[in-house]
């Protein structure tokens, strides 16, 4: 397929410039990859910007990432076909000093850029979700919900049940959040005795606290003092309720309920009940005298559950760490890109038949060595490592024999390819088999050692063998 028709003039000019000045860069097609990746990421980013974000909806962004994984794989295949076909080595082009490094780095960069198309949508959409509600606005909303929470219990019977046997807490059902850092207070309920939870209650507020009070931990502490002097939650409830009734007028109480309903609606949860009804029922719980009329309910379990989830999604979208800042992510990406670049380097340096036979040989060696290990009952880690190390040395000998051969042999080519694939990982392999406890820092050091050794050998050892292999006549 002629992809040139999708390429703008300035990229064509760049392409021609690289072709006539820097063939080693041109043949990597990194400029085409760069253009395609930038364009794709802009499109996917734009798509992420256009797609609506609903507050209170839980977004599984990895599903999108896997969708765009298809795009990345498609690009990778197209790129590999284009670069693989236009092979300087097959035409016996000159190989300047350092070309293997340049090739490897260019291929690594190309793979990294192509891989980025998997995450561009993820990243932009994640940012959009994070900013659907500003931090200040979210804090204010949490404040409002916390203030109104006592009026919306999960189950009014909890109060009476506790009164009867002391087995259950009076549960308002809504988790409370620390609005400073959006951490949830674990299993803490609004009506629960603060002392028993062992939480840092500096930011924990009684329902009567105002926003200004919340900011001042001293005031909060002062307000919650009546609780701490009580043994259990119900006392706290009583104390708070008394205090609340002293401080809040019915009008103010009604306003708290109204604000709660409005805020819940903002987070996608409709509460179809008038605020004065809620207040009326709340007042009936005074001193646990539940004198609800027949058929009248005071139960907000579903609503609380929805609010909790909805606010929870917004908070987790803000507080969950983005995968791009996770070192493990880059660790995986490094391995992915390195191994792809390594395989591609091998493919471009050998005949296609040699490459296929190398893959088959690798599988055969793994199977046969596994059978030998099983039959000889070698099970200590030292023995297993020693066994595989002997195989590795055999492969190195087979690869080095290329320098003394008079004709090309796929067997030597397979040895060389398998040595190239295994060399970066041999030091780590050695370390893991000889140290029984996991030490992340040491593992990383041995990993790095493997890559350093590989890069040192790349130009002086592997290139020498690959070019000689290419030039050897057929048998």
């Amino acid at each position: 397929m002629n992809l040139q028709r999708f390429v703008p003039d300035f990229i064509k000019r760049l392409d021609h410039y690289l072709l006539t000045h820097y063939p080693i860069i041109w043949q990597s097609r990194i400029h085409n990859v760069f253009y395609a990746v930038v364009l794709t990421n802009l499109l996917l980013g734009g798509l992420a910007m256009l797609l609506p974000v609903n507050i209170g909806h839980r977004y599984e962004l990895w599903e999108w990432t896997w969708t765009f994984f298809v795009v990345a794989v498609t690009y990778l295949v197209i790129w590999m076909i284009h670069v693989g076909r236009f092979n300087i080595f097959k035409l016996y082009g000159k190989r300047p000093i350092g070309d293997e490094y340049i090739n490897f780095v260019l291929h690594m960069l190309s793979v990294v850029m192509i891989a980025s198309t998997m995450f561009s949508f993820h990243y932009v959409y994640d940012q959009k979700i994070r900013n659907i509600v500003s931090n200040a606005e979210l804090a204010q909303d949490i404040n409002t919900l916390n203030l109104g929470a006592p009026f919306f219990p999960n189950q009014e019977s909890y109060y009476s049940k506790y009164k009867a046997d002391g087995s259950a807490d009076a549960d308002n059902g809504l988790y409370l959040y620390n609005y400073h850092n959006f951490d949830r207070f674990g299993n803490q309920r609004f009506w629960t005795n603060l002392e028993n939870d062992g939480l840092d209650n500096s930011y924990y507020r009684g329902y009567e606290a105002t926003e200004e009070q919340i900011m001042d931990t001293t005031i909060v502490q002062e307000v919650t003092d009546p609780c701490t002097q009580s043994k259990f939650g119900l006392n706290c409830y009583d104390e708070n309720k008394k205090l609340f009734n002293q401080k809040k007028s019915p009008q103010e109480q009604l306003e708290l309920i109204t604000n709660f309903i409005k805020t819940a609606k903002k987070y996608g949860v409709s509460i179809n009940i008038y605020p004065n009804k809620v207040l009326s029922r709340f007042n009936k719980t005074e001193n646990y005298k539940f004198n609800l009329d027949n058929g009248e309910v005071y139960n907000f379990f579903d609503i609380n559950y929805k609010i909790e989830n909805s606010v929870g999604y917004v908070i987790s979208s803000k507080t969950d760490r983005v995968i791009f800042y996770d070192p493990d992510f880059w660790h995986v990406m490094w391995y992915l890109c390195f191994n792809l670049a390594l395989l591609f380097m091998i493919y471009r340096n050998v005949r296609r038949r040699d490459f296929i036979l190398s893959v088959v040989s690798g599988i055969v060696i793994m199977v046969v060595s596994g059978i030998i290990l099983a039959l000889t009952r070698m099970n200590s880690e030292n023995e297993i490592f020693g066994f595989y190390f002997m195989i590795y040395l055999g492969l190195v000998a087979g690869a080095s024999a290329i320098l003394f051969k008079r004709s090309h042999s796929w067997l030597n080519a397979a040895c060389l390819n398998l040595v190239a694939v295994s060399t970066p990982f041999m030091p780590l392999f050695y370390y893991e088999f000889n140290h029984h406890h996991y030490d992340r820092a040491m593992t990383t050091n041995w990993e790095i050692a493997g890559f350093v050794i590989f890069f040192l050998l790349l130009q002086v050892f592997f290139k020498k063998l690959y070019t000689t292999l290419w030039a050897l006549p057929e048998k």
């Binding site: 035409l91 000159k94 070019t467 000689t468 290419w470 030039a471 006549p473």
Partner: protein, 393 residues
């Protein structure tokens, strides 16, 4: 060593004046490629190439100013000195090399050959007689069982096998497919050999025009005929400037006119003063090969039965051999040639092969046949041709 370009200005003028613009302009471009031109001069040449390509593709009528400019530059360039390559030296020599295949029970018997810079060696023989095997061995593309091949490619003592092979260009009969635009392949070939920027543009464009490929430069491999593929491959090879060029049946895909042009081109390549090269090629087109080759190797059943220059080898001088095409019968021919000693007349593929003692000239045979009133539609003197070996089979 400084010298003058290897051409005659009068030849270019003659072609242009006689209306043979294509040949004239091609010779002019040969001059350009042989000469060290300044950037301004190269830009002028590129401008002329543009005009030439536009006219050739459309009207085929050149303005006199264009022709005058070509003549003027030819004269100007012919006066310039150029750095000639070193004197003729041996590029490759094979001593008693042989190869056998288990499958097919074929063996190429030991053969020795040597090719110097500027020399053209043609390998001829029927199908399945080992031509391709010999070429691949000489190109270091196929291992040898016995014997030894030595290359003197002038790339230093510490040359690796890979570097050595970079100086050998082998064009197989089935040319591997090119990918991408044809022109880009040529730019890439040049830049990968260290020809960058304007020089790259200049050489590729001149080469495309020189080989009549400009019209096809933006096409892809699958969009051109096999004949043009051969020409594009030749263009790529010329940009690589190998020391040794080996071509397997390069004429197979070319029409008769293209064959003549192609052979003349490779002869010019071999004899270039600035970048001479050793050329080894195989072909079934015996007469065409004999026209350009300095040295012929004839293979039969894997054995070299002729391995020498045409002029010096006495093996060819054993008898007079004539090939004619006529409506006459064999008896009529025998009657016309009555009295000639050691005469044999053999019909072979629509023509008669007439052999006789060496003292009788081939033209005498023709005269006697015509004198007998027989009609001859085709005649060729094979006395000095290796085609005799085909006829002996």
């Amino acid at each position: 060593m400084e010298t003058k370009p290897n051409f005659k200005v009068s030849e270019i003028e003659e072609h242009l004046d006689s209306g043979n613009y294509t040949l004239g302009f091609r010779r002019f471009l040969d001059v350009c490629l042989e000469t060290d031109l300044s950037v301004e001069q190269k830009q002028t040449v590129l401008g002329l190439c543009d005009i030439y390509n536009q006219v050739i593709d459309n009207t085929d009528v050149f303005e006199s100013s264009f022709l005058e400019k070509v003549k003027e530059l030819s004269l100007q360039f012919s006066e310039m000195n150029l750095d000639a390559a070193n004197a003729q030296n041996n590029v490759v020599s094979g001593q008693q090399i042989s190869k056998s295949y288990k499958a097919g029970h074929f063996k190429l018997q030991p053969i020795s050959m040597s090719i110097d810079t500027g020399e053209l060696v043609g390998i001829v023989g029927e199908n399945g007689n080992g031509k391709t095997t010999l070429l691949r061995m000489m190109a270091s593309d196929l291992s040898i069982d016995e014997g030894e091949i030595n290359y003197e490619l002038g790339i230093g003592n510490d040359e690796s096998l890979y570097d050595e092979k970079s100086s050998i260009a082998y064009i197989p009969q089935r040319i591997p497919r090119w990918y991408g635009k044809l022109k880009n392949n040529l730019h890439f070939a040049a830049s990968s050999r260290g020809i960058y920027g304007f020089e790259n543009e200049y050489l590729v464009n001149v080469m495309l025009t020189r080989l009549g490929l400009n019209k096809y430069k933006n096409l892809f491999w699958t969009q051109i005929s096999s004949g043009y593929r051969t020409r594009f491959e030749l263009a790529r090879i010329l940009l690589l400037k190998p020391q040794l060029l080996i071509l397997d049946e390069p004429l197979a895909n070319l029409d008769i006119n293209a064959q003549q042009t192609f052979l003349q081109d490779i002869r010019n390549l071999a004899k270039s003063k600035r970048h001479p090269m050793a050329i080894l090629f195989s072909s079934q087109q015996l007469h065409e090969v004999e026209k350009v080759a300095d040295h012929i190797v004839f293979l039969r059943n894997g054995e070299s039965i002729y391995n020498s220059t045409i002029d010096t080898n006495e093996a060819l001088e054993t008898h007079t051999e004539t090939e004619i095409e006529t409506t006459a019968t064999r008896d009529q021919i025998l009657a016309a040639l009555n009295g000639i000693e050691h005469l044999t007349v053999k019909q072979q593929g629509g023509v008669y092969i007439i052999r006789c003692q060496q003292t009788v000239h081939s033209l005498e045979i023709l005269k006697r046949i015509l004198g007998a009133g027989l009609t001859v539609s085709y005649y060729r003197d094979l006395t000095h041709s290796t085609k005799k070996f085909f006829n002996e089979n």
